[in-house]
């Protein structure tokens, strides 16, 4: 009995800090902003909000949000899982670099990617003949482009740690490769796939830049509606109504995901020695071809960016990069701070955000990966798990303005604090960290921990000797991912009063919207630079993770 209550205490202790952060930097601001819609003149008046929910337009917007996000999620998973297999189970030269490459889209600013896509798809572009400019297909393609990394990295961390002997045994017993995949591999991967899919769905449902840019304003999602209602019309009532709707949709999705995941959370034997991956055989041809195709799709918009950054007035030139380098010196400089300074700012913010996201992520993962005995406890853990996913699915506009209206007086006078941006980014990165770590932790056989405990190990010892060693590689993966997220993040911080030190994405946005001389080309050059830095960071992370380092 005392053991039980002690474990309950441990959960509370582990969850306390993450809950506090989430409470102050998420629940409070969102509640503050939504509250303004429900209390228009200081008095509770839910009628206006309900009226908005009954509108025809609201129904259309909800429907488009659901189906476009669902289609994009399905496509991302269907394309992402084979790519994950190739990148995490097969051995081939340059594998680490390709893995780093896949993360690239994730950090590129939406505005720039939107333009890259439109350059490809516009009637005058290389793919103009397809007639996709301004269609939902273009929106969905861009969503897949952005989110492929989520599937590859989340599923990859689990997949590379799977013990292959099970598959080998099944094959030895006469199962065909398809049967092995269906009955052994996929069930083991399912928790990670569902995890990844729910994150992708949330990202898709909450993206507004892509929808506006690629849809040519013809398509509206809940997120774009909230954006327009808040920033253009200042119609807080309608925005609140949609924010509530968004919360309901997201919670519903998380509930379904949870059921799927917990229903199958059986322990998976982890490889004693990590498999190095095997060499590709001729039987892998289909999956290799598919992966090649997907990588080409990822590469195409990136290539248009690189090409455009190297062309000035119809000629090949490094001028855009020179403008970047010279920027900030002398009167009439193209940008207000040198790009190196913006990069340094991004780096600092990313370090803080990553440290916070990893710290909180480990704590949350340890809690949500538990398998408590009691039903109530199990419910509590599931609720906690979903709670930390919410920031992904809730409007950045609501959150950003919420910061302004709630964190404005002591003891929480944090509006202009330099901490706000890293914290906001950490909240976005946190679910990715949890989604990477929790499936791995959950796949640990609980008997291992129980055995250690029965041999007299304290809970802390169990944590240090059983749980954390298995976590070390996924932890690095998650940290790298969080770092990449923070480097490229703009949405959540777009509505904060930013300190004067712009990060690289902020610099890119301000260059893009300035009608000045070569501002746009310079912005693209800066995006390419951002991409290069990200690939380098991810490549270093891959290198550290790789078994050849003698770990």
């Amino acid at each position: 009995m005392s053991r039980r209550s002690r474990s309950g205490l441990a959960v509370v202790a582990l969850a306390a800090l993450p809950l506090l952060v989430l409470g102050v930097f998420f629940v409070l601001p969102v509640a503050g902003m939504v509250g303004r819609g429900f209390f228009p003149a200081g008095a509770f008046d839910p009628v206006g909000v309900l009226e908005v929910l009954g509108r025809d337009r609201t129904r259309r917007v909800l429907w488009f949000t659901l189906w476009s996000s669902a289609a994009a999620t399905a496509a991302t998973v269907l394309l992402g899982v084979p790519v994950t297999f190739v990148l995490h189970r097969l051995r081939f030269p340059g594998r680490r670099l390709v893995r780093a490459f896949v993360v690239l889209p994730f950090v590129l600013p939406t505005v720039v990617v939107g333009v890259a896509f439109r350059t490809l798809l516009a009637p005058s572009g290389p793919l103009g003949a397809l007639g996709l400019d301004g269609t939902p297909v273009a929106i969905i393609a861009a969503m897949v482009f952005f989110n492929l990394a989520v599937v590859v990295r989340t599923v990859g961390s689990l997949w590379e740690g799977l013990d292959r002997r099970r598959e080998d045994a099944a094959a030895a017993l006469g199962a065909s490769p398809v049967q092995v995949l269906r009955t052994v591999t996929l069930p083991a991967l399912l928790p990670a796939v569902v995890s990844a899919a729910s994150v992708v769905f949330l990202f898709c449902a909450a993206s507004f830049g892509v929808v506006l840019t690629l849809g040519g304003l013809r398509y509206a999602t809940i997120e774009t509606e909230i954006y327009l209602l808040t920033t253009q019309f200042l119609d807080l009532r309608a925005a609140s109504a949609l924010s509530v709707l968004q919360l309901v949709v997201v919670s519903g999705l998380l509930y379904v995901a949870q059921r799927t995941r917990y229903g199958r959370g059986e322990a998976v034997d982890r490889a004693a020695a990590r498999s190095q991956g095997r060499a590709a055989t001729w039987r892998d041809t289909p999956v290799l071809v598919l992966t090649g195709g997907v990588l080409a799709l990822v590469a195409a918009p990136l290539a248009t960016l690189v090409v455009r950054s190297l062309r000035v007035g119809g000629d090949w030139s490094l001028r855009s990069y020179r403008d970047l380098a010279d920027a900030g010196v002398g009167p009439g400089a193209t940008v207000q701070v040198p790009v190196t300074e913006a990069l340094a700012n991004s780096w600092r913010v990313a370090v803080d955000a990553t440290a916070l996201a990893v710290l909180l992520g480990v704590l949350v993962s340890l809690v949500v990966a538990r398998r408590p005995g009691g039903r109530l406890e199990r419910r509590g853990v599931a609720l906690l798990d979903a709670l930390f996913m919410l920031p992904l699915g809730v409007s950045a506009v609501t959150l950003g303005f919420g910061f302004l209206v709630t964190l404005d007086r002591p003891p929480l006078d944090l509006r202009s604090s330099a901490l706000l941006v890293p914290v906001a980014q950490a909240l976005v990165a946190l679910p990715l960290v949890v989604r990477t770590l929790a499936p791995v932790l959950r796949s640990l056989d609980p008997r291992q921990g129980q055995a250690a405990a029965s041999l007299g190990a304290s809970p802390l010892r169990v944590l240090l000797t059983v749980e954390l060693p298995a976590l070390w590689r996924p932890l690095l993966a998650a940290a790298g991912f969080a770092f990449a997220v923070s480097l490229g993040e703009f949405g959540a911080t777009a509505f904060l009063a930013r300190p004067e030190r712009p990060t690289l994405p902020v610099l890119i946005y301000s260059l893009v919207s300035r009608p000045g001389e070569h501002g746009f080309d310079t912005a693209i050059a800066a995006s390419v630079l951002l991409a290069l830095v990200t690939v380098s960071v991810m490549a270093v992370v891959e290198r550290l993770r790789s078994p050849s380092m003698g770990a």
Binding site: G114, V115, R118, T119, A122, P123, L212, T213, G215, G216, L217, L228, T231, D235, G313, P331, G332, V335, Q336, A344, R348, V349, V351, D352, T354, A355, V358, L359, F401, L404, V405, D408, R409, S416, S417, A418, L419, L464, T465, V466, L468, P469, W472, L476, A479, A494, F495, L496, A497, R498, E500, R501, S510, S513, R514, P515, G516, E517, F520, A551
Partner: protein, 371 residues
Amino acid sequence: MPMRPRGRPARPAALRLLAAAVVTLLVPLAACSVVGTGSTEDSDGSDGGTGSSGGTVVVATHDSWAMSKQVLAEFTERTGYRLRVQPGGDAGQLTNRLVLTKGSPIADLVYGIDTTFASRAVDEGVLADYTARGQARSAAAYAPRDPKQAAQLTPIDFGDVCVNVDDVWFREHRLAPPRTLDDLVDPAYRDLFVTPGANSSSPGLAFLLATIAKYDDDWPAYWGRLMANGAKVTAGWSDAYEVDFTASGGDRPIVLSYASSPPFTVPEGAERPTTSSLPATCFRQVEYAGVVAGARNPAGARAFLDFMTHRSFQAALPEQMYVFPVDRGAPLPPAWARFATVAPRPLTVPSADIAANRDDWLREWADITSG
């Protein structure tokens, strides 16, 4: 030394993990982080400042803010105030930020509220009564007409939002470029025009207002004809100009942009720009600054507002933010002086009308363009 107890083979792993945790979390935190470098304090906008006895002035502005360090240092030298600039969002988001934080303001001074949002800022009472002292006489022409607005908003700069055409394309296609808004619905220019949307872009909204100024209550019919003539609407100015405009490699030679755009299309080594703006289509957007009601440092805010109307700040505006100074005596860059035409009679809509109708106009516009 005691012997290492048996049964703890996993210890090195735990140590390694702890070491990793230390590396991941602590070292970078100490070495190069926002917290570590103490950037919560006032930033280096006041590098050149020697005296800082007057405290800090916080300026809220939009994303397009840019100003040379020399000019800002001059302010600190003259007045002793340090400056902290907080850019974010466009003119609309800037205004809404102020409205939402009324009562505990985020800044002492706001710069970047434009013609289309002036009424919201003033009606919501987020500004204090003050306008710059000693402004150039030419600036008076840009002050708001409404007396209440004129008491709180000081005009700083203006920009004309105009239809631009790619002259090279029209020459190559032996077609006379359009000149007026009426021309844009002429079948001769079918599928040639691209504009950013009115509800997602400030120049897009300016263009909608231009058509309202020109056609009054008939603007919905005009927009119906415009869309029927194949006009394309994009989300932002950048993707209209940078993707669809022929001068940037697209396939539409008529684009909504600024009067200041043509000077930037002078090819290297050439004399003249390859594009021009159409003066008959221009809508004028004036950008204002104002002291925020309840500012912590109202004296500093007034000082910076005065400084923004001085010659050095005004003369830096074209190069830094691509707008025209309201002080018409301030020197313009040479290419501007030649090719950036200020519309002699720009289209305007009274700001009271904008305030009363903007939301309805935008909803109706959205219905027409997405139908």
